[in-house]
């Protein structure tokens, strides 16, 4: 039995935390948002230099080849720290290539994504792949919202007949900024009008969503843990009626429930990480990881505000960064109903077989 991250990954986690804490201690993300600096290019370069962006990419494509465990761990920590960089978008695009691209497609795009010179994003849209179809290697249709699509150079677009890679500066590609719940990430409306697109060698929208859902689950677990840590810290320091509010059971039990939800979510996410390399188990594992993580993050984020009282409702408390991210993240790759259906259908099918 070996159901835990390796010692190497655990050691690496300390380093990852240090880097994130140094540049983005609590409060710094909000200051960046206030300053309108939604993309910290210097930090992005640093992440590229440190090998985070290509951590799961094989060495022959310019990556660090440390595997998915390492990637999931970094995603979790990034989910906690919320730095303004298109990390999830770009590693998501790399994941699509890695899993479904041909050797030539990987050789063409992964080295840039792995060092950060190329920025990728994923365009799932909703209702998922149904709106965009390809004719003769060209795409027409609309995706909305596409997270970090304004910063990205390329997008992996989910279409009815498979996955396509679109260069976002090509003719026929139009990008218009739109506001979303998440203040740290920008969203766009992506309009494709007979835009040139290269089909990935394999994979379809559902398969890619499964893989991305596992990564997003780690991101949400990181966010849930950060919101819980914030709430616990505040509950220890804030006094009311002559005692710390954390000594009131209404607060304690709330936070115990957040802890339980987060631990269950983390455990499901770990299984999801394992399933990234075990295809038959992936659809169920991904859906469970996704649903558990969305539930935990949503709960943690809202109770974090509650524990902070009036302070939690202020812009400066930072609680809203998690509150916003939790909801945005929970719908980005398909909302709850999509994943519940997928989960139950897969279980039903598995038993019928």
């Amino acid at each position: 039995m070996n159901f835990d991250f390796s010692e190497d990954v655990k050691t690496m986690r300390e380093e990852v935390r240090r880097v994130l804490r140094d540049r983005y201690p609590r409060g710094e993300v909000r200051r960046a948002v206030d300053a309108g600096a939604r993309f910290d290019r210097d930090f992005w370069r640093l992440l590229g230099d440190m090998g985070w962006l290509g951590v799961a990419v094989p060495e022959r494509f310019g990556g660090a080849e440390l595997g998915h465990e390492a990637l999931c761990m970094i995603v979790e920590e990034v989910g906690a720290a919320l730095p303004p960089v298109p990390f999830m978008a770009s590693v998501g695009a790399a994941e699509a290539l890695l899993a479904f691209g041909s050797e030539a497609q990987c050789a063409r795009w992964l080295p840039g994504l792995a060092c950060g010179e190329t920025i990728g994003c994923v365009a799932p849209g909703e209702p998922l792949a149904s709106s965009i179809a390809a004719t003769g290697g060209r795409l027409t249709g609309e995706k909305l919202p596409v997270i970090d699509g304004d910063i990205a150079d390329i997008a992996v677009v989910m279409a009815t007949d498979g996955l396509y890679l679109v260069e976002l500066t090509a003719p026929g590609v139009e990008r218009r900024a739109i506001e979303t719940l998440d203040l740290v990430r920008s969203g766009i409306r992506l309009t494709l009008e007979d835009a040139p697109a290269e089909k990935l060698a394999g994979g379809d929208a559902a398969q890619l969503l499964d893989r991305l859902a596992v990564l997003a689950a780690f991101e949400a677990v990181g966010g849930a843990q950060a919101a819980l840590d914030m709430a616990v810290g505040y509950a220890q320091e804030r006094y009311a009626f002559g005692r710390p509010i954390g000594s009131f059971q209404a607060i304690k039990h709330k936070l115990a429930d957040v802890y339980v939800a987060t631990e269950l979510a983390r455990s499901n996410a770990y299984y999801g990480a394992w399933a990234l390399a075990h295809e038959a188990a992936l659809p169920v594992a991904a859906a469970a990881a996704r649903l558990g993580a969305s539930e935990a993050f949503t709960l943690a984020a809202k109770e974090n505000i509650q524990v902070h009282g009036g302070m939690g409702f202020t812009w400066e408390s930072d609680c809203h960064l998690y509150y916003r991210r939790a909801r945005a993240l929970a719908v980005d790759l398909g909302a709850g109903w999509y994943w519940r259906d997928r989960l139950v259908e897969q279980l039903d099918r598995a038993e019928a077989a």
Binding site: E263, L264, A288, G292, L343
Partner: protein, 409 residues
């Protein structure tokens, strides 16, 4: 990550399976858990199975060989439990004795006690019960009032215990009593081993909500216990009791009964408006939530086992099992009854879906949220010991036991 056994673990699993195959049939799917009272036949069957396991080295896997154990590893203990769960073994009456009482005796016992008690418990000859809770002391166990007063070489015990599982067929009890009411409540307790046949002990079964009686009130009237029955020092009873409770957390673990697989099977069998219940989106929402919780618990358990298998203490993820599974059991039982429609109220196992599994579970699930630490107490423990939140304000702090405020109940 991988879920496989190490070669040594696989060898042990094979050994366990060979033993189980030779002595027990496999369990039938979806069979109701016993919520009727344990009969003398049930107790005899449990004793026989306990002896069989002990004779083959599977009863005391963690026990030292000196007491008939295997001196094995935590992983072997877990592997055997996983395998045994698949077989139609009798409901055990040995959790208290083998899982909780004897490890405590081994931690605090005198040489005479060690020579006398562990082996017969392991070999299924003697059944033990836990005489802790009282009418006025459950969650607040240290508030117990049963008194023991020294009289020469004996102690004289007066008072009452309650909710004592299996007291009516237990041979011995693990008893914690107050020996000094003039000091703080935790400091005035002392622990004893008591022969349940001692004169002055009266056992009155209590009827549970299912109508069955598996626990009792136990009255002590001038019961004389020789001092050599004391376990641990005078005034050290709280420490001994905590050791036993720590072992309880370990044995109680998860709630048996209908889980995701059962409610999923029911949702596929039942039809709502001509289509399977499982195809209804409201039903799906519940099913998905339970699957996620069940899987989360399973993988949390595997994380704990990984720590054990690496020779480390399991992390805090270990503390959530009973809290999550007890409520889930109650919710699944409730929903299973709902799914069956008007037939849901039927308890007759010949007619009710899955032999009345959900109806039975409805009537024992509440106990899972109470026994072995209530939901609320478990949340307190998580908040204080895992999250590091401050302890509750308490009205009994710094007071001698006999100065503590009490209520009408």
């Amino acid at each position: 990550m991988d879920f496989g056994d190490t070669p040594a673990e696989a060898a042990f699993r094979a050994e366990a399976r060979a033993f189980l195959d030779a002595h027990m049939p496999l369990k039938e799917a979806h069979r109701a858990h016993v919520s009727r009272a344990m009969t003398p036949e049930d107790v005899a069957a449990s004793k026989a199975w306990q002896r069989k396991k002990a004779e083959h080295g599977f009863a005391g896997i963690l026990w030292p060989t000196a007491y008939g154990g295997r001196d094995g590893t935590q992983m072997q203990h877990i592997i055997f439990a996983q395998e045994e769960e698949r077989y139609a073994v009798p409901t055990t009456v040995f959790n208290q004795g083998v899982g909780m009482a004897m490890p405590t005796v081994m931690a605090f016992g005198t040489p005479e006690q060690l020579a006398r008690y562990p082996r017969p418990a392991l070999f299924g000859d003697e059944v033990w019960c836990q005489l802790f809770s009282e009418p006025a002391a459950g969650s607040d166990l240290a508030g117990l009032r049963t008194r023991a007063v020294r009289d020469g070489d004996d102690w004289v015990v007066n008072g009452q215990k309650i909710w004592t599982s299996y007291a009516h067929f237990a041979d011995f009890g693990m008893l914690v009593v107050r020996t000094d009411p003039s000091v703080a409540k935790h400091a005035g307790l002392t622990f004893f081993i008591v022969d349940m046949k001692t004169p002055g002990i009266e056992i009155r079964p209590i009827r549970q909500i299912s109508g069955a009686s598996n626990f009792s009130e136990v009255f002590f009237t001038d019961v004389r216990l020789p001092d050599r029955q004391r376990l641990g020092a005078v005034g050290e009873g709280w420490k001994v009791a905590l050791t036993m409770l720590a072992n309880e957390r370990f044995t109680v673990g998860r709630a048996e009964g209908p889980d995701f697989d059962e409610i999923f099977a029911l949702a596929k069998a039942v039809r709502i408006d001509g289509r399977r219940a499982v195809d209804d989106s409201a039903v799906r929402e519940r099913l998905a939530a339970w699957y996620v919780r069940t899987a989360g618990l399973k993988y949390a358990r595997l994380r704990s086992q990984t720590a054990l298998s690496r020779g480390k203490a399991p992390g805090p993820e270990n503390s959530i099992g009973k809290l999550v599974s007890a409520s889930k059991l109650q919710d699944i039982a409730t929903f299973g009854i709902d799914l069956a429609g008007t037939a849901g109220a039927i308890t007759d196992p010949e007619i009710a879906a899955m032999h009345g599994l959900f109806q039975q579970a409805l009537l024992y699930a509440p106990s899972k949220r109470i026994a072995g630490g209530t939901d609320e107490v478990l949340r307190n423990i998580i908040a204080e010991r895992v999250l590091g939140l401050p302890a509750d304000a308490r009205a009994d702090k710094g007071l001698a036991f006999n100065q503590i405020p009490t209520g009408a109940r």
